[in-house]
Each structure stands twice: as structure tokens, then as C-alpha cells.
Symmetry: C2
């Protein structure tokens, strides 16, 4: 059978992973797909870069739109990242009847509904396994492997940079700044690490999984996002005393009132497998009503892990390329006319357990005041820890683990607690998920 | 679109999981598949059992062959287990142009090549996600999600009964017999537990994954199988002193000389995620050349987890039911005409690390003799532990962890060591896998 021809926009890390793995495993890939997959054209403004990537036998163009419109190309691979020109490129490729494979979570979290609609109308596929959790086939598992289930929730370590930083903070007792510096030196964090450390990248990914899990349109604006840049090593240590690890989790949950969608540092019982996922590794825990909890673990980034997912998509698209669109797996797991508009919940409506750390002056009645305020807000205490009084400052830390409470009640209680004149400084509030 | 009609052979645990989940999640399943999936006929020799399962609106037949030949049925679900009449039923269904979904690993490990050939010739699909690791979509991940990779090895905890027993032995210090008794009381082990505890069930599953990973025919006869019934709690405790856990692993590995296929109790570093998979849970670790190590974790058995995988297969088959067979994912991951005949290695050719436990008399020169024999066989020692001398027996245990050695050399050395008159009783030999 004739080889499938692909066109690649971009010559960066993802492109190199795709090209190298396609070349190295050419024979096995052909044995699986039933036909070859060949790079026909690559775009780059710097010709030498493209030649370094694909050699001299492949057409090189300087305009990405020439890839989107190339008459020989069956599938385009978008590896540029970011919103533009990626969006224009993908839409142009679709308009030209090309299938698209992309690793671009930012693009899909912001413009996915528009892109999938255009693809649907044109009868082409936009595949994006590599957009979430790198090499882990979690999109496929969620969309196809667990398709019998009513998904209850997803919780994922889906950003390797922050997981590396948190692992260093815990293992070495480092501050966030110290751990970030090492991550940057090792190439695990970018010079401007904002997207990663503030949770935006994780939010893009959990937004996509939320849509797949619950059959709702992609709704990035509904995500509540809190990163790890303000997390203190102290809280990691206290959490450990209660038997918990702190991870940056992307969480989406179906509740009777609507869908929760949030990213924040989270305490997880240390006995959970996902609490032991360290370094730059990713893991996604999915709870279905029939299957129970399943976990998917692996490399969340890097040239070849990402290339692995891009090529898996290329093989999937290759298999169905001449089939009716109706035979294909729908982009968002559910048929496009079967998406629902379940309300997205604000963070204030979240119900979970909370970790609170207060800095207080060592005076009688402090604890009584605090527990009274908590009780007034229907917040019951599961465990408490008070540190020794610091000789110099005469201050002490009180750490409280609550039972399940309503976020807005906790916020109101925290406001009142902060107003107490025995409570100094800020009150640290972290969320706890049992993931049982 | 018209609903897909299925026929179910059997009314046991798997059938009940399939029927209940299909009913409960009917609406979501239809939203995903684009059409309904309906039970049209069920076979049972006891009518009341079938009625308890599907109610009175569904046709009930007493002959399974009536399901295989039923004119309304698009897909048959085989839930009987075992070799016969399952094999005859599946072949008859295929001959009648029905697609087949099955959870039957024994059947496919023994007769898979014949069954897939028949399906291929007839242009129908035989889907078997539920045959390996219950609800975990590991067949799909291996066959589609990791299709870009040259798979290097797979190591899986793929039998819940033995993992439950091993967990109890470690946590409570119980003997195998005591742990088995509890497993039987809890319904995790059958009255005759041979298939599970002797590793046969795990061997069926790793045999299927081996074929999928390496593009070779199914070859159950090539599997080396060792169960856990002879495992002593002592060795679990000693392993722990070296920082290892003992798990029953199914292992298949590609080496330059051929393919290893084996099931045996295995020491794994306790820091590995898979070493911390406890109770009845399953997990499969897959190493690909591009993606690195990925892990898939979840429930390996039970009505609804198994039902989850059966229904995922039903949805997959439903999607491609009117498509050309060429658009489908090949049964064994590789195209049927692209399977290779890579040699399967005997256990004697395996190279790995070994744990040896000797019971010796406390006399001078014992250790010198043992280490000389090991050195003579090119086996170098990584770590050693000697217990205190028992006052009554004057005996002591010597536990040795070797570097990577050849199994046949280790066996030869063990024979010589056993012949020493200072060595009493048997020498315990366990394999160690770093899984790094």
C-alpha cells in the first residue's frame, strides 16, 4: 500500500522526537500500521535547521502555510506550540482536508472547540495524545479504554517541572526558589517558568481531560488555578507528619451540582501510588464507576516520549484514513452532537478536606478561639499539631487537618481567624484529597 | 442509527458485569458509541439464572450455539472461560460472521493463533481487552498507544490472587498456606487455586502481551512458569533487608538472542512504583525505546472491571463494524502477514540477578567454599547477609544477591553448593529484576 505522507510544521524538540523515532522504528511501525509513514515536507525559516533534522531528501519550505496546503501531504504535524500561528496553521490544514496531529495543549484548551468543529465539518481528524502527559497514552485510555464508564473524577500529576521541584523540596528540604534554580540548570524549567510553576500548563491538560471524561465542551475559563511558587518547605514537612505528600494536581470531578476543574498543590496520603510519583514523571489517576481507580504513569515530556504519542496518533489516523468519519473515535470521546452543558463549579463550591497552618502567639485561649470559629462555620477538625514555642518570637505553628468542608466556609473562617490579634501573618490553606 | 445487538454466552460473574454496566451507563455509552448496544440473546442451561441476569424482555436459549448462529446478533460475548466449549463456540460465531469479544485468556493463550486466523479470513474482529489485567486498558495501550515503540520488555503483576497472598505474607508474616486460606475465605482464591498460585493464569496473560509487544505468534508452550506455593515468608523478610519486595511477575523481554517469556516470584527494588502495588490490584510496566517506562494500574478482576473492558471492546467493534477490515487495529498489534518468528529463549538462557538462600552448618571454610564455587561459574556477589547461628541446630542462613549472571551457570553452581556437606537442605533461588 502507498505510504502516508506527513508534513511537519516546526523543527524543535517535538519535531526531532517524531522524526528520529519514525526513522529508527520505521520497520516496526510499518508492520503495525500496514503501510509506511513518510515525512514529505518540513517547514523552517532556517533551512539548515530543517536539514539537520530530516537530511536532504525531504522538501523544505519556509512558510508553514505551504505545509498546510501541500498537495502530497495527508497528515500535518503541528509542533510549534503556543496560540499563533499554530491556530491559523491548524485551521488552514483542516480547510485543505488534511488530518492534524498536535501536542499543543495551550492551543486546544483555548481554541479546541473551534478546531474540533472545523475538523468535524471537514471530515478530518485532529489527534492530540501528546498534548496531555507526554508519552502516556492517557487520552486513548480515557476516550476508548474506559468508554464503558461513567467517569467520577480524574487527578493527575501532569506537569513534570513542578513535580521535579516538589520532589526536590521534599527530599532535600529546599525552598521553592532553590529547587526552581536547579530545575532550570538541568533544563527541566524554562527561563520564564511561569506557565509551569503557576499551574497554567497543568490547567490546560486537565481542561482537556475534563471534556473527554464528562462529555462537555472544552472550558478553560472555568479552571481555578493555583501554582506552587508560594508553597513553603515547612508545609511539605508538616504534611509529612500527618502521613501526606504534597503534589501539584490537576483535578476534575463530577458532583451532583456540576463539574469541578482545578489545579492546586494538594495533600495526598503517602500510601497512594500517585503520591510516590517523583521527579519529572507524570501520572494520571482516573476513577470510573465500573472499573474503579486506574492509574497511568510515564514520562510527561521530552522529545521521544512526546514523539511516541504523536506517532501513535499518526498510526491511528493512517488506519482510518480512507474510512468514513463515522467509524472514527470522536474527538472529545462523546459524539459531537451528544455533548452536554453541565455547569462548571466555582472553587468556592468545592467540598474537600483542608490543611490550615496558622502562626500564633503563645497565649491562653488562642486555640479555643480558633476552634470556635471553625465550629461556627461547620468545619470539624480531624487532626491537629502544635509546634514548640519559638524562644525568640514566642510564636508557634498550629496545623489543622479538617474533615470534608465547603471551600467558601473555610475561606470565611480563615478571614475571621486572621482577624484575631493572636494570629500573626498569613494563614496557609491547602486542599487535601484522599483519592480513595 | 440502529442499535448493535449482542449475544452473551454464559451467565456468570463476567456476564453480570457486562449486563449491569451496559444497563446502568446506557445513555453515556450511546453518547460515546454513536448508537445503542443492546443484549438480544443470552444462553443458559438454567433459565432462571438468565432471567435473573437480563430480565424477561431478552431472548433466552439453552444452547450456546444458538447464540453463535443467531441472525440478529452482530457481536457475541464469550464469558464462559476455559478451553471448551469456548473454542468451538468462538469458531462457530466467527464462521457465522459474528464479531467476538472475550475475557478468556486461557483460550487465547492456547488457541489464539487458530482463532485470529479464522477471524482474519472471515473479516471479523476478536477483541480481548478483558483477557489481560481486567479493567486496565493495557491491551489497547500496548497495541495502539505505544505503537511507535520498539518494546523492550514488559513486567506485570497480572494475577490478583497471588498478589493478595504475597501482600498478606509480607504485611502479616504469614505462611503461604495461611494467606491462601484467608484469600479463599474472602473469595479471592478458588477452592482449587492451582491455576492462580502456580502461575498458569499469569503465564496465559504474559504470553498474549508478549505476542502483542514483539509481533510474534502466540506461544504459550515457550513460557517458563513458577508459582508462589513454595515461597517462604523467610525469603520475603530477607528480601526486605536488601530493600526488595517479592512479587509474582509475568516477564517478557526482547534480547539479542530471542524472547524471554517467564512467570516467577521476583525481587523488585521497593522504590519502584510496581513494588508498591498491593492486595488484589494489578499493574503492568511496559518499557518502550521511545517512551521509556510506562505503568498501567487498576483492578485485575471482578464483575464490573472486567465488564468495563468487555464493553470498551464492544464500543470499538461497534465503531468499525461497517468499515473495511483493513481499517481495524490488527489482533496482535502487527499486521497478520508481518508477524516474525523470533526464537523463544529457554529459562536457562536468562540473564538476570539472583537471590540465593543457603542453610549451612556453622563451620570454618563454609563461606570460602561457596564463594569459590560462585566465582568458578562467573557469578559475582553484590551483597551478602549471614544470620546468627541457631543455638539448637547450629545452623545459619547465608543470603546472597548476585550481579547479573546466566541462569544455567547459577543452576550449575547451586548443584555444586548443594553437594557440599556443610550445606543442609535445599538452596532457595529467586530472580531479581531492577526494572529501571
Amino acid at each position: 500500500m502507498k505510504s502516508i505522507k506527513i508534513g511537519i510544521a516546526g523543527t524543535g524538540v517535538v519535531a526531532s522526537g517524531v522524526v528520529n523515532v519514525l526513522k529508527r522504528n520505521q520497520e516496526e511501525i510499518t508492520r503495525r500500521a500496514g503501510r509506511g509513514i513518510e515525512v514529505a515536507v518540513v517547514s523552517s525559516r532556517t533551512r539548515s535547521k530543517a536539514e539537520a533534522l530530516v537530511g536532504t531528501g525531504v522538501e523544505i519550505v519556509d512558510d508553514i502555510m505551504a505545509v498546510a496546503r501541500h498537495p502530497d501531504v495527508d497528515i500535518v504535524v503541528e509542533t510549534m506550540g503556543g496560540y499563533e500561528p499554530a491556530r491559523t496553521f491548524v485551521l488552514e490544514a483542516i480547510a485543505n482536508g488534511k488530518h492534524v496531529v498536535t501536542a499543543n495543549k495551550a492551543l486546544l484548551a483555548e481554541h479546541g472547540n473551534e478546531i474540533f468543529k472545523a475538523a468535524q465539518d471537514k471530515g478530518v481528524t485532529v489527534a492530540f495524545e501528546a498534548a496531555v502527559a507526554g508519552g502516556i497514552p492517557v487520552i486513548k485510555s480515557l476516550r476508548e479504554g474506559l468508554s464503558a464508564n461513567r467517569i467520577e473524577w480524574i487527578a493527575g500529576i501532569i506537569n513534570g517541572t513542578t513535580n521535579f521541584i516538589l520532589t526536590q523540596m521534599r527530599e532535600k528540604g529546599w525552598t521553592f526558589d532553590a529547587a526552581l534554580k536547579v530545575a532550570q540548570e538541568l533544563g527541566y524549567a524554562e527561563a520564564d517558568p511561569t506557565f509551569d510553576v503557576e499551574g497554567v500548563d497543568a490547567a490546560h491538560k486537565i481542561t482537556l481531560m475534563s471534556a473527554l471524561a464528562f462529555g462537555v465542551p472544552i472550558n478553560f475559563k472555568a479552571a481555578s488555578i493555583e501554582g506552587i511558587s508560594k508553597l513553603a518547605a515547612t508545609d511539605i514537612a508538616y504534611a509529612e507528619k500527618f502521613g501526606y505528600r504534597i503534589k501539584l494536581l490537576g483535578i476534575t470531578k463530577r458532583t451532583p451540582d456540576g463539574i469541578e476543574l482545578r489545579v492546586h498543590p494538594t495533600l495526598i496520603p503517602e500510601s497512594r501510588l500517585i503520591a510516590n510519583v517523583n521527579g519529572v514523571m507524570n501520572a494520571v489517576l482516573v476513577k470510573g464507576d465500573a472499573v474503579g481507580a486506574t492509574l497511568y504513569y510515564g514520562a510527561g515530556a521530552g522529545a521521544e516520549p512526546t514523539g511516541s504519542s504523536v506517532i501513535a496518533d499518526l498510526i491511528d489516523v493512517t488506519r482510518t484514513i480512507t474510512a468514513d468519519p463515522e467509524h472514527r473515535v470522536p474527538h472529545l470521546a462523546f459524539q459531537p452532537d451528544a455533548l452536554e452543558n453541565i455547569p462548571m463549579l466555582p472553587l468556592s463550591a468545592v467540598k474537600t478536606r483542608y490543611y490550615l497552618r496558622l502562626t500564633v502567639q503563645d497565649r491562653t485561649g488562642v486555640l479555643a478561639n480558633i476552634t470556635r470559629i471553625l465550629a461556627d462555620h461547620d468545619i470539624s477538625v480531624d487532626a491537629m499539631l502544635q509546634t514548640e514555642v519559638d524562644d525568640t518570637t514566642k510564636q508557634t505553628h498550629i496545623v489543622i487537618m479538617t474533615h470534608i468542608s465547603l471551600e467558601s466556609s473555610v475561606d470565611a473562617a480563615v478571614q475571621q481567624i486572621k482577624a484575631l490579634d493572636t494570629v500573626t501573618g498569613d494563614v496557609v490553606k491547602l486542599r487535601v484529597e484522599e483519592l480513595g
